[in-house]
């Protein structure tokens, strides 16, 4: 049976519900700029109607908390793209530093000092100059100076690459502490979420967890697996478990062969991490693939040029009376690896340059001709030195250009996904303003009904009585 007092209770409940909903709106507006905050909507529920003698009477509505509006699939997609974009971004930064060492020689008279291509050409040209005049001491000195320039260019480039490699090493190692902090935070949140709201979206706690996940995705490549009771397991892209339920597994670093390697437990996951994504993936790819490849090319150049020239110099006659063992012009490298870093000119006396052929007089130029011809012979990995350097330069430029294109596309994709996510989950002030207006009117209506009920109650109370209660 509907009574006036039940109507009163319905209205007072309505006022409370409106109040609660207004709180949710106010909370949204207050958190409009909080990073990671997801817009909440109030949950309205109709109360169970009462059935008396077959007639059902409504019992009003309650507001039962707020739900965060979030799309898990969209968030996961965004995190994946973020991993890719961060990886290509940090790799691109490293590659740009590498390619700055090999800026193209513009060919003008004030061209870049340190251009290896010009160094190679000048060195072999100095032997061509000796062909015309094998005993001229200033031309011979020129051979040693251009050799010194070439050796300096190669070893400086190799030294810069090595120091960049250790800088990347440090950057990569520095990421692990951040990763570990985030994974332990996620593990703690897992516990809290699983205990407080195992069946539904955990609101602010879930916001924090997603925020941590987003930060983690920038750093390292991960896979997310939702588990029961609103839990989350996180593994690296290659499958190493980082977070499971309430516990996290630390990422540790250790030095192996002069560079930092990464371990989960006792398993060395460095090479898997390099291809996994995130900043760490980018750093490791640059450190373990790109830079060693460039160093190897420089080493090949240095090794081939120095061994071939040294061999020829020891197969001729110089101006100091040596016939067949005039000495090395360059330091003799033991192996290809490290040849670029260690190359230097060991000959100090230009008279020891063996321009003449074996057993010939000092006016002969046949050995000088042979040494000049090395520039055209296929002495570096099946190519002539200039061709080898030219191909090296093109390959490096193409690699960097490719990573640039990748990075631009991935960054654009991240922006697009971020926009989609924000349009869903970010606080839209216009929506909040209209909700506010609606709730305000609803509240006014409810309080107006309350006032009318009060008047009706007074009439009831006054029924059959002469005196008026108002």
């Amino acid at each position: 049976m509907g009574t006036i007092s039940s109507a009163f209770s319905i209205m007072s409940q309505a006022l409370q519900a409106d109040q609660a909903a207004l709180n949710v709106v106010a909370n949204n507006v207050a958190n409009a700029s909080t990073p990671g905050y997801t817009e909440e909507t109030p949950n309205w529920q109709e109360n169970q109607p009462i059935v008396i003698n077959g007639v059902s009477y409504g019992t009003g509505a309650t507001e039962s908390g707020a739900t965060s509006i979030r799309d898990h699939v969209l968030l996961e997609r965004l995190n994946q793209q973020q991993q890719l974009a961060s990886a290509s971004g940090s790799r691109l930064a490293a590659l740009n530093t590498v390619q700055a060492l090999f800026t193209p020689d513009s060919g003008s008279t004030s061209s870049q000092a340190g251009d290896i291509g010009s160094g190679i050409t000048s060195f072999f040209s100095s032997f061509s100059s000796i062909e015309a005049n094998p005993t001229n001491s200033s031309l011979r000195q020129q051979v040693l100076s251009s050799a010194t320039t070439l050796a300096g260019d190669l070893s400086n480039a190799a030294a810069s690459l090595n120091s960049q490699r250790s800088a990347l090493d440090q950057d990569a190692a520095g990421v692990t502490s951040q990763v570990n902090a985030l994974t332990s935070s996620i593990a703690a949140l897992n516990q809290q979420i699983q205990s407080t709201s195992p069946g539904a979206d955990a609101g602010t706690l879930e916001d924090q967890r997603q925020q941590d996940l987003s930060q983690l995705s920038k750093l390292i490549g991960i896979n997310q697996i939702s588990t029961e009771n609103n839990g989350l397991s996180i593994t690296t892209t290659s499958g190493q478990l980082l977070v499971s339920e309430g516990s996290n597994f630390q990422l540790a670093t250790g030095m192996v062969g002069g560079v930092s390697h990464f371990f989960v437990g006792t398993l060395d996951v460095t090479s898997q991490l390099a291809s996994g994504g995130g900043q760490l993936g980018g750093y490791l790819t640059a450190r373990d693939e790109d830079i060693p490849s460039v160093l190897n090319s420089l080493d090949q150049l240095a090794y081939s040029i120095s061994t071939q020239v040294n061999t020829l110099n020891n197969a001729g006659t110089d101006m100091a009376g040596d016939n067949g063992n005039a000495g090395n012009i360059f330091s003799a490298p033991a192996q290809v690896a490290g040849a670029a870093l260690s190359i230097s000119v060991v000959m100090t006396d230009p008279n020891h340059i063996a321009a003449a052929g074996l057993g010939q007089g000092t006016g002969d130029n046949s050995n000088a001709t042979a040494m000049a011809s090395l520039a055209k012979q296929l002495i570096v990995n099946g190519q002539s030195p200039s061709n080898y350097y030219s191909k090296f330069v093109t390959t490096l430029g193409s690699t960097v250009s490719g990573v640039e294109t990748e990075n631009t596309a991935q960054t654009a994709s991240v922006t697009q996904l971020q926009t989609q996510n924000d349009s869903l989950s970010a606080v839209n002030l216009n929506n909040e303003a209209s909700s506010l207006t609606t709730l305000e009117r609803t509240y006014q209506a409810a309080s107006q009904v309350f006032a009318m009920l009060n008047t009706i109650m007074a009439s009831v109370l006054n029924m059959g009585e002469q005196t008026t209660v108002s």
């Binding site: 390619q99 062909e131 130029n365 093109t394 430029g397 216009n430 303003a433």
Partner: protein
């Protein structure tokens, strides 16, 4: 339909991008170089290395060839003087052989021919920038010396048979020298010094064995022709060298133009792009200013 309430901050990202484009274009325009890093044009960077290499090789060759040409011309003029001296010697010998000379005249002719021999030897020992050019590879010491112990005297060659070549950038070789013994000490009747020494011996006693003297004079004549022939190969080298040097200079000019085209900035194109980028930036800035202004949510109307 829902919209992203944060779209204005995304515009800031676009602003960064236009800024970066502006910076790059300005850098290219101010340096005049189109390819400032390898990734901007990898193929051009690789091609640039090869072009610069070729240009420098041509340049080195041009410089070397002008140095060598000096040496070849000195050799050529020495041989020219030798031909003059030998012609004079033949004239003297011929006049001595006609039988009208007395003993002291013959001795005088012997002395003159001996003087000519010294002169020819000195020409055969010509040096250029401190190196003896007719000594083959043994350029640090004079190749020819005469010992007067015997009669006729013997002029010996202390050089070797080494011939130097200058290699052109395209691989062809130009001969740079002739060993002295191939010019002056040829076999049989081509031996200049033998002929001269014999003539000196013929006339120095004051009496003449006509048959012998005539035969020796004939030998000298043959030797003179031989020297002239050898001189031709030196002249050929000079011609070859001049042509090669000109070709190298031409190639260098063309390659330099190609390299400039490849690497230098196209100013007109860059200026246009720069103007477009600037106007885009200005437009973006005013859009952001407009949209980012305070009263653009419903709250301001409540």
């Amino acid at each position: 339909m829902r919209v992203d309430p944060n779209f204005v901050s995304n515009l800031a990202g676009s602003l960064n991008q236009t800024q970066a484009t502006l910076q790059q274009l300005t850098a290219q325009l101010s340096s005049g170089v189109r390819v400032t890093s390898l990734s901007q044009d990898p193929l051009a960077s690789g091609q640039n290395v090869l072009l610069l290499n070729q240009i420098q090789q041509d340049d080195t060759f041009t410089q070397s060839s002008s140095m060598v040409k000096g040496q070849l011309q000195v050799a050529d003029s020495a041989l020219g003087s030798v031909v003059g001296q030998l012609t004079q010697a033949i004239a003297l010998a011929t006049s001595a052989n006609n039988g009208t000379m007395n003993s002291s005249n013959l001795k005088s002719i012997a002395n003159q021919i001996s003087g000519i021999l010294d002169e020819v030897q000195s020409l055969a020992n010509t040096s250029y920038q401190g190196q003896y050019i007719f000594a083959g590879g043994q350029t640090s010491s004079a190749p020819f010396s005469t010992s007067t112990g015997t009669s006729p005297a013997v002029t010996s060659y202390n050089g070797d048979e080494n011939i130097n070549y200058l290699e052109m950038p395209n691989g062809e070789k130009i001969q740079l020298n002739l060993p002295g013994d191939q010019i002056f000490s040829g076999s049989g009747a081509n031996n200049v010094f033998a002929a001269l020494n014999n003539l000196v011996a013929d006339y120095s006693s004051g009496t003449i064995n006509t048959t012998q003297a005539v035969s020796d004079t004939q030998a000298l004549s043959t030797a003179l022709n031989f020297v002239s022939q050898q001189r031709v190969s030196l002249d050929n080298s000079i011609t070859h060298l001049t042509a090669a040097s000109d070709a190298a200079t031409n190639e260098q000019t063309q390659l330099t133009a190609a390299q400039t085209n490849l690497m230098q900035a196209d100013v007109a194109h860059l200026s246009t792009q720069l103007a477009l980028a600037e106007s885009q930036q200005t437009a973006l800035e005013s859009v952001i200013a407009q949209l980012g202004s305070a009263s653009n949510s419903l709250f301001s109307k409540l």
